[in-house]
Amino acid sequence: MIVRRASHRLLPFIGLALFALAGCEENLAGGAACPNLCPGQHLEVHDTILVAGEVIDTSAIVNGLPPLGTETQLLVARYGDAAGDSIVSGAVMRYDSLQRNFPRADTTKPFVPVVSVSSASLQFSSTPDTTMIRDSLRFEVIDVDANVPDLDTATIHQLFITRPALGTLNVKKDSVSTLHTLPIDTAFVRQHVTTNTRIRLGLRVYSYGHDTTGNVQVGIIPITSTNSLTGTQTGPSLQYMGHAAAPATDSLTFTNYSVSKSSGGPEFRYLANYQLVLKGSPPPPAGVLPVGGLPSSRVYLRFNLPSELIDSSTTIVRATLLLHQLGDQTFTDVDSASLTPRVVVASPAVTDISKAVLLLADPTTVPLPSVRMNPSETRTDSLVLVSKSSSIVTLWRAEGPLIMQRAIVLQSSLEGRDARRFLLYSDAAADTALRPHLHLTYIPRSGFGLP
């Protein structure tokens, strides 16, 4: 009984102990009495819209992207308009080393050379856009070899136009597949194999309808890749059936790939296949910056934000680039495309803008959001440079002006894959309302602390 009475007496103390334990976890959030009881500290939020001319000191268009030989897809296309062929591009396949001997089992014996070719073809994979084809398309392959330096594409351009086709392939719209085998003149191939000279082939395409020509675009995978397990190679290949002189029954299908395995740098040195624009997009109207098109262009914008905003303790919580788009009526495709701001990581020492537009941060590193829109629409677009997920200003501040250019590049998701382009009014637009603007919201350091 005594124990029972004592336990009753302890109940208030146990309750107090529990109450005290409940007080161990703080809950400080208040604010019901603000602003009356919240004097002294002021968080100032400033909001301003600046004309781009005040904050962008350089804007430039860089054409011909991606650089020759670094394309991830070779666009072979022909877009027709009322005036005829408006935009035309082809591809160049380069086979600088041809197999001209039979493989030998006994290395002590001399090579057995190929002396004749009974069939030859160009085989390639593609991603055709069948929506554009009217009834059928025709591939043509041309000899575009010339004794000129690699970067002398003007000569190659001329050969594309003047030389006759070595072979053609007609495909009906409903029969278009992803793998194409285009027969080539065997005499042409035999001559090069037996004389041990290189072959460079141009590929062009036409689209036909029942009344007139139409549009066509085919993306060809340019890079030879090798399966690491099986050793088999894929990519545009030059194949031919070679025969030995004796015994006459010896024959073998030889498959030649381009030596290029890599999309290299801007310098054309990897013996890569490449895309050649035969007739490019028309020039944009005055005061307009094109992004995309054929050859594709990027727009380089270098910012000159006031140092009191970017190099001080001020925090920019929003930076939105407002761009006005002029609808490009060249194409009426209803599909939208992405306009992506990319961060330039080139240092100020890189003064060649055509090189700076290639030195870009990986989109996952500074994921500035893209804007999806239709290039044929006239509208206003907002490119977010500072947001909850990423801030280019934070990066610029961290790296400093001596390490990194404070610039972005506008890139189209259609770059190198489609002739459509975004037309954006520049700072030279006649109507100031159409010029780019930068919407900034920033909060100066409050200096809070002491009441």
Binding site: A33, C38, G40, V45, E54, G449
Partner: protein
Amino acid sequence: MRTLTTSLILCATFVTSAAAQGTLSGQGFGYPAGGLSTHAEGLGGSIAENDPLSPVNPADLTAWGRPGLYFQYDPEFRSLQSNGSTDHTLTARFPIISGALNIGPRLTFGLSSTTFLDRTWETSITGYAHFQGGDSSLYNERFSTDGAINDLRGALSFSLLPSLSIGVAGHVLTGQNRLAISRQFSDTNFAIFTESSTLSYSGHSVSGGISWRPLSALSLGVSGDAGGTLHSYRNDTTLTSARVPKRVGFGGIFGGISGLLLSANAEWNGWSAMNGLAESEVKAVDGWDWGVGAEVRAPALFGQEIPVRLGYRHRILPFEANEEEVRETDYSVGFGIPISRGRSRVDVSVLRANRNSALPDVQEHAWIMSFGFLIRP
């Protein structure tokens, strides 16, 4: 550039303000949470000048009797009503840790750390921001501060006579306020704004006191703090300087009635000396702090007498709220549980604090639990 600057100035039209504190008691450099033991809090602070556990009068150190340690835990459950809405907060405080050591038969040395001004709070404000482009966004803004200015005291007490002792103490005021502010917009096209800051404080003062028992049933005490200098720093930069508030207090305990102890105390605090420490218009005001209390012997528990305490206290808090004085009235009840034949003790007090000012529609109330643990081997 001039055009740009002009543009910036012209366009900086939208400025919102929001701020801190958000309570009546947390204004300025904070709430004076320390200085009274749990025992004294249960009696409305009325024994502050005669209580060895309250680091107020250094002369009382003699009453420790033997070496010991004391610490205290004071969670505060606060509610603030304003503009039709109510905030409920919980602040955990450890306002006192102290110890004493006898150096010879008549000299006692004591060390203590008390919370001088507790600046721990957080406010959360939600609103709409409207921008030049015609858009708007919901936002949430949070201010928070954590930390306090603490009073580290080293004191000596000397018994001149069995009924009379004097004491002197040196005080070092030190501590930090860790502040943070953030603004988050609901629109994901805005980055999150955050800013943090740490303030440090350093200061010193001296105090002295007398404790006198003219009669066996009457104890009197008087003490004062001479003030000193107090500086605020950010990193190694001195921001502001001011004087440590002066203080003078007196009180007494009367035990002439069997089973009942009556006590009263009053002290004046010169808080306005701190005005130079603030950067804004925050104003500290001088004020009186007084209290009365009674302790009665309750029925024994486990063979020990349990003293039950009642108290009342009224004081003016140091910092004005919106240019209005803030007053606090406390009603307290408490008890003590002797342990180890009286050598050690656990004190428990519950305070109901009502804080008010001339501001309309603002009411602040708090329940403060206080647990004091005295350990004397």
